[in-house]
């Protein structure tokens, strides 16, 4: 019970946290791109766009940062057995994240917000780039730590059976990390560009500031297209890597109970869960699973029943199969929505080529809807990754059931869970109100007056400086 509650809490708080993180990483990059454009061409609308989207970035960073604090503390609070067990290896990247990334991100964000009139243009531009780099570095360290839970490397077990780090480079060359990190960064860029595009689409549909928002919309599409195409390749490659190191995860994602060769891919099916191993396959595509999992036409894929037997032999009796329903559908939601977004990006790129993006009613309407997809895909991706690792908290080394804090009761966790959920609902509501409000605001004025504070506020009476 306590263990389940602790899992619910971690799942809730980390999924929530990761709604904001990709927006921060993606938008920080795009705002840096806009400001670079302004730096180079000196056109006032780029400065106005920088401030406008900078404000949206700041609203998101606020929630992303404070919900990140919870994550940082939660390991020790709810998972003390885990923390004691893995600290030697897992703590390192976390501490490096603080030292190398959080300081960079927060210090230069402060300099950027307040530095518009105080810093030379070039230095001020460097500040936003350092914010963008800091946010990407933070993802790097946390992904290195997370990948170690998926595929532990660079350690030896000491006399008590506790992992001791013996090769730090192994953590940063872990294939799960390399592909997983790229996957997360690309997902963040997809998220950021779709958020920016949706805001532009809203304004363009109202025929407001068509020139400026047209620029920003084109930039979003031009970032989105290569990123989403690359993402489909990277996501596929990550699946192959995981099939190698965590075969159960991928077999569960395909609801593949029996061994197969060649293996067909079920595009949609009913059943196939724990008590129904013979699903009604509505659509099956021959050979596709072999290609996805092994990269070859006729590659074999081990079924869950076989993997379960092997794991029992290796680790003793127990259930080594994660929830198949979650695995199967989170994989499909991610892949299908990703493909839709790729088509959407191609459509957008074609309109950019034709020069009619600003006037395309249907594309702009689709752009407004598309903004929800990255959040669904990001969540599905983490469900696939983390649920697929169960019953392990560290693959092959420690089970989740043994990882929670012995000194923390279920009452304690209920209290904290309810407190966090209430706070998160309030934060989410405030964030949404502000995002909608500032996303629909007019661009700030052309001139530099009233420009010394946070972005995009000059035209209104909202104080430029919001601290």
């Amino acid at each position: 019970m306590t263990n389940d509650l602790a899992r619910w809490q971690f799942a809730t708080t980390s999924i929530y946290h990761f709604l904001f993180v990709p927006v921060t990483i993606g938008l920080a990059f795009l705002v840096a791109v806009l400001q670079t454009a302004w730096y180079r061409n000196d056109k006032p609308e780029y400065r106005r766009l920088t401030k406008f989207f900078g404000t949206l970035l700041l609203i998101n960073v606020a929630v992303g940062v404070v919900t990140g604090l919870v994550q940082e503390f939660e390991f020790g609070m709810n998972w003390s057995a885990y923390s004691k067990f893995v600290g030697d290896v897992f703590g390192g990247p976390l501490a490096m994240e603080g030292l190398a990334a959080f300081f960079l991100e927060s210090t230069f964000l402060g300099l950027w917000i307040f530095g518009w009139d105080r810093l030379p243009k070039r230095v001020h531009l460097a500040c936003i780039w350092l914010v963008a780099i800091g946010s990407m570095l933070s993802a790097l360290f946390i992904l290195a730590a997370n990948s170690w839970m998926q595929h532990p490397v660079g350690y030896k077990l000491d006399s008590h059976g506790v992992p001791q780090l013996n090769n730090i480079w192994a953590l940063f060359t872990n294939p799960t990390f390399l592909w997983g990190y790229v996957h997360v960064i690309l997902a963040s860029l997809v998220t950021g560009s779709l958020v920016m595009l949706a805001v532009c689409a809203w304004h363009l549909r109202k025929q407001r500031e068509v020139e400026a928002f047209g620029h920003a919309a084109r930039i979003s599409v031009l970032v989105l297209l290569p990123v989403i195409l690359l993402q489909m390749f990277v996501g596929n490659k990550l699946g192959e890597i995981e099939a190698t190191y965590q075969p159960v995860k991928i077999a569960a994602a395909e609801a593949q109970w029996e061994n197969c060769q060649p293996c067909s891919f079920s595009a949609f099916q009913i059943g196939g869960g724990k008590n129904d191993q013979t699903p009604t396959q509505v659509i099956a595509i021959p050979h596709l699973l072999s290609i996805l999992a092994t990269g070859t036409w006729n590659g074999p894929v081990e079924g869950l029943n076989q993997l379960q037997k092997e794991d029992e032999k290796k680790y003793g009796p127990g259930n080594y199969i994660p929830n198949v329903f979650i695995q199967y559908w989170s994989m499909r939601v991610m892949a299908y929505l990703g493909s839709l977004i790729a088509l959407f990006a191609l459509w957008g790129a074609w309109l950019v080529h034709k020069g009619t993006l600003e006037r395309s009613k249907w594309f702009l309407r689709a752009g407004l809807l598309a903004v929800v997809t990255p959040f669904i895909m990001n969540t599905a991706g983490w469900l696939l990754t983390e649920n697929g690792r169960q019953p392990w908290i560290v693959q092959g080394l420690m089970k989740t059931i043994n990882a929670n804090s012995p000194s923390v009761s279920s009452t304690d966790i209920w209290i904290s869970l309810i407190a966090f959920v209430l706070i998160y609902i309030a934060l989410g509501a405030a964030d949404l109100v502000l995002m909608l409000r500032y996303g629909r605001k007019e661009l700030g004025p052309d001139d530099d007056a009233g420009s010394s504070g946070a972005a995009g506020t000059g035209a209104t009476t909202i104080p430029a400086l919001t601290y």
Partner: protein, 345 residues
């Protein structure tokens, strides 16, 4: 010096740095409605920490993450023992962090008032409860042979822990008032000076009492130790100087006071990191709580590379925004003229 001792010192530096820097942010957060009567003045007060508070808060994160990496058992036992206290700390940090960003972006009296209370209460609770937690490390908590906490929330509220929390809070408030006095002008500065007076007296009494109590809790000699003496002297200087126009000196003195107090806790703690009130044999020490030597070496290299960089660019940020924050001249043509349009740092 052995690696785990070096890391104990590094973690102590992170905690000291956190309270010296974020300490004035907490003080400003609590005092901003007292030194600022109008919305403009309150904004001026909060603007004094605007560019920095977020970076200052990272010191807490690296303190926690540093403990996780270098002393996993310490991190695990302490954070799970302080469970409900930390839930409140997190709630307070969240409320206050978001309030700083969101308050000025909404409309209406209710929106502003809600976030104002988040700032005030959040800034009050965090140093108070973290102070209780740090005091408890030294005082001792029920911890069993497998280094797990066996008590409940009320076991955290030891007399010594509470005194430590209140003392630390009073130092943060004094530190905040000397900081505000250093960074503002006119009415806000004068009210900061006025606030520093009672805060100074309270802090002197609390710190003196804390030193005496610490002597009986920490063991060792009955005579106050150098760092504790320094804390007392510094807080007296801070309180006295706060009345004068030597704003920089007053702020330096309150910074030294806060550093000396937090530093004393860690000096008295060493070589323990967490005392067990159940049995001295179950104490957590730098030896039995530390990571392996390879992990510590890696972390030492990482800290040696990144920490100086952090000091340089954070120091540069302090340099860029030095000088006093002033309210802009009134703009009667604007409906909400009470709002300063820009920081006149």
């Amino acid at each position: 010096m052995q690696l785990h001792t070096i890391w104990f010192v590094i973690i102590a530096i992170f905690w000291v740095g956190f309270f010296v820097l974020e300490g004035f942010d907490f003080g400003v957060g609590v005092l901003h409605t007292i030194v600022g009567r109008t919305e403009t003045e309150r904004r001026v007060a909060l603007n004094t920490i605007g560019p920095w508070w977020d970076g200052n808060e990272v010191w807490l994160i690296v303190a926690g993450a540093g403990m996780f990496a270098a002393f996993p058992t310490w991190y695990a036992t302490m954070f799970s023992a302080l469970y409900l206290a930390l839930v409140i700390v997190l709630a307070a940090l969240m409320a206050r962090g978001v309030a700083m960003e969101f308050k000025g972006k909404g409309d209406g009296e209710r929106w502003r008032r809600s976030w104002m209370w988040c700032t005030t209460l959040g800034s009050l609770l965090v140093p108070l409860l973290l102070g209780v937690g740090l005091g408890d490390l030294l005082h001792g908590l029920p911890i069993n042979s497998s280094h797990d906490f066996t008590g409940n929330f009320f076991d955290l509220l030891t007399g010594y822990g509470l005194w430590t929390g209140v003392t630390l809070l009073s130092l943060c408030l004094l530190h905040g008032s000397t900081f505000l006095k250093l960074r503002t002008t006119d009415a806000v500065r004068e009210r900061s000076r006025a606030a520093a007076r009672p805060l100074g007296w309270a802090a002197i009494a609390l710190v003196a009492g804390w030193v005496i109590w610490t002597r009986s809790v920490a063991g060792g000699p009955d005579v106050p130790q150098p760092c504790e003496v320094l804390a007392v002297i510094a807080v007296i200087f801070a309180a006295r100087l706060a009345a004068t126009d030597h704003d920089g000196w007053a702020f330096s003195a309150s910074a030294v006071a806060i550093a000396a107090m937090v530093g004393s806790i860690f000096i008295d703690l060493y070589p323990h990191v967490m005392v067990s009130s159940t049995n001295a044999a179950y104490d957590l020490t730098v030896n039995n709580a530390a990571s392996g030597s390879y992990a510590l070496k890696v972390m030492t290299v990482a800290a040696a590379i990144f920490f100086p960089l952090v000091l340089i660019y954070q120091g540069w940020s302090f340099h860029v925004f030095r000088g006093r924050v002033k309210a802009p001249p009134a703009q009667p043509d604007q409906a909400r003229s009470a709002m300063p349009a820009a920081p006149q740092v």
